[in-house]
Homo-oligomer: 467 residues x 2
């Protein structure tokens, strides 16, 4: 069966017909300048830049629906765009088309303090949202590192450092408004905190990478800013010991808010970058949220666990300034990594395995990096079994690119063989399409059947997820 | 468009052809006795009993796949069956067909202590699972009250008293194995705790009520049994005060594990049933999980909040026996309600609204019960904005039935008008089909398109969810 999800070629005639209509409707909010278009195809991966034909800046849902309608009529691809922090080529336009930039749809529409919910437009970034919420004593806990848009975070099912306590985007979105491929605007759920009313279309759209609908409003679950936050740092003699401490912590039901691993190479990078003298051994960075008494008790329990497994010294603090200082090395990870090979580019990839396999997976990955002569510090959301390799690569060095490709291939295979996933939080995009079927087999046919049912012409972000 | 999701009539010829084939394959594990069939169509609702033609007891996934294959070929409906605790007619067979009873697929296949996961067959009940896990210091936290099967809890997206802390089935299932309508066996995800690999087919099947696939294995997230559990009970002068205390507790980020409301009528029922002398005013039942220090601190904070809002006395305990005693009234709710009108039947319905509207919704619902001369105590999972009305009805009294129908209609409308849902945790089944479109509009068309794509012949639990 020829599936509409796989477009064979760019249909220039459709674009040529649609563009004047879009220009008439959106005026100077439809831009076609080469540089701008390339910037909207820009990705932070090593995938080639594939620019859209135009960038359109809608201001409300009706405009998005009108745009989808025009594109549907002329079979023109639509690629939703947040701020371009995605890592697997999600915003590239392999078949051309319209990049829908949500920069002008970035408002907070409603905050319900009592319900701990808010409704936002997709273009708001998580930091802007949290700045808006701070005075109300509320925050949105999902923190993927980058200051991504909430829309983009929905589309890729983002998570990050706080996921071990607060979950991923999957569990922190109550409802979505979306424009579907046929132009219909749907609201996937009420504002009730939970529901068992029919299929979970909210969760279907989260992680669908813009291929099933264009998200135009998001109802989020918020959390109260905890009374106390404490931070801790603890070096370990090995990745294995650090992982065992993490497992014991989680098994004990200690509600740690963040538990991050930096491997020895990353610690070395951090020391060099920030002129610190931290132990250059695998190190856990932790954060606890709760009442003063609870975070103190939780920290003490983890300190005891760490000591039993040969870790320490366990340094912790509830003072904001000291916390920031303790966590600085974690926050600096990306720039510190860059310093390992000045002039190179960092390409970040991620996998996620059952936590019982994490130490083994990290060790094999380290060996593989060494054997391929690649520089790649490892940073892990270790409470979830999820880790990133920050590969430092000279993009002009073709041989190194090939070795990096081979590394990526083996990393995904390794994670899948350990009953894990080729991507814990970055998504499939273009970069990991070839691993999806190896990981999920016939489930991919179910996904394709849904894609075909909901977007028969394949206009929504074609060339992503499915090969 | 004629949708296969709406079957018009029972196709007896298909069943007549399929039954001998099924009998040959399953021998005496295919039963057609009238009483057994009626029991498998039995529901705890007021919907009429609609018995299947046969009940089949598969022992493994291959047998389920073979059964689906036979049924697909002869267009025979398949209705998955756990233990029959569903409340909206999910296991009825309006078009006849085969009830697939998972009584023989009730094993724990794997427990991974380090990963806090287990893999189970759908027929295991939550109590049997927790008995199995207890010695390992682990538990599965979702507690819908009834000792439902894990498969049924997946199918209806169940939740219950612990949801305020641990979430619903939506957030506590890692992966599913399912037989799809075409006979294909899929595994929806790896065993990694999180993933962003493609569409979230796991969440699509959770809450699909057996209409998209037959679940045959479930990978669950487990939790460590907390070091300390404390329980508390606190009466309030009004439902409004109890709701405001709940909102303040959750806003403060206190990780309460359970927070349940019993209204004045339910408290009266409990006193009569268990010969207690609790205050007959709206009362909160709470539970805290964590370290000794954390639960003590958490309880004290909630006690202070309650006092400020006119509640009290706040009685709490960490001793197992005393905890049980404090919570007894909550656990007795159903049987105590029955005692309000001996000889009547309890029909339980639920809605869920944003918590800011909960007090208002409960008050209006109480007024409505009174104006319709219905006896219906109210019990709420108040931390989620979810509440149940236990309507005590004489099933033989047609006039009372009509008044109860009218009540249900108004209750769903009220919840939807408050931006809530017609069902927080019971599902749509047959009983709430007519409210789904009112609640979700065009999203129902998206659901139907998915149903049609994945089950074009409409053999999977037809006559449910969609009108």
């Amino acid at each position: 069966m020829a599936l509409a999800t796989t477009r064979q070629a760019r249909d220039q005639s459709g674009i040529d017909l649609a563009l004047p209509i879009i220009r008439q409707r959106f005026g100077d909010r439809c831009e076609t300048g080469r540089a701008l278009c390339e910037q909207h195809g820009h990705t932070t991966t090593w995938l080639a830049n594939e620019a859209p034909d135009a960038v359109v800046y809608p201001e409300n849902t009706e405009e998005v629906a009108a745009l989808v309608e025009i594109c549907r009529e002329h079979r023109v691809p639509i690629i939703p765009f947040g701020v371009g922090t995605s890592l697997e080529g999600h915003v590239n336009a392999p078949f051309g088309g319209i990049s829908v930039d949500f920069a002008r749809m970035n408002r907070v529409l409603q905050v319900n303090d009592e319900d701990l919910t808010c409704i936002v437009e997709p273009g708001i970034t998580r930091k802007a949202l949290n700045a808006h919420l701070r005075d109300r004593g509320l925050f949105f806990p999902i923190d993927p590192g980058a200051d991504a848009t909430i829309g983009g975070m929905c589309a890729t099912r983002a998570s990050g450092t706080n996921a071990v306590r607060y979950g991923t985007m999957q569990g922190n979105v109550i409802a979505l408004e979306a424009v579907m491929a046929d132009g219909e605007v749907i609201t996937t759920a009420s504002r009730a905190k939970k529901s068992s009313a029919g299929y979970d279309i909210t969760r279907l759209l989260i992680g669908s990478e813009g291929t099933l609908g264009v998200i135009t409003k998001i109802t989020l679950k918020l959390s109260g800013i905890p009374e106390a936050i404490s931070a801790a740092v603890c070096p370990f003699p090995s990745v294995d010991a650090a992982c065992r401490a993490t497992i014991a912590t989680i098994q004990s039901g200690i509600p740690v808010a963040r538990i991050e691993l930096l491997d020895a190479m990353q610690m070395k990078a951090v020391n060099a970058y920030a002129k610190l003298d931290l132990a250059e051994t695998p190190t856990l960075f932790l954060e606890f949220h709760g009442s003063e008494a609870a975070v103190a008790a939780d920290s003490e329990m983890v300190a005891a666990i760490a000591e039993e497994l040969g870790g320490g010294p366990f340094r912790f603090s509830t003072l904001a300034e000291e916390r920031t200082r303790l966590w600085q090395a974690r926050h600096d990870a990306y720039f510190a990594a860059l310093g390992l090979r000045p002039g190179c580019t960092v390409f970040s990839t991620d996998v996620c395995v059952p936590i019982s396999r994490l130490a083994e997976c990290v060790a094999q990955t380290r060996d593989d990096l060494d054997s391929l002569d690649l520089v790649g510090p490892i940073v892990g959301h270790v409470g979830d079994g999820n880790f990133h390799v920050l590969i430092l690569m000279d993009p002009a060095d073709a041989a190194e690119r090939d070795r990096a490709s081979e590394f990526l291939e083996r990393l995904s295979q390794r994670a899948i063989a350990m009953d894990g996933t080729c991507t814990g939080e970055h998504g499939i995009g273009q970069g990991k399409m070839k691993y999806l079927r190896r990981e999920l087999g016939g489930t991919v046919d179910v996904m394709r059947a849904i894609k075909l049912a909901l977007d028969p012409d394949g206009i929504l972000n074609p060339g992503k997820i499915f090969q």
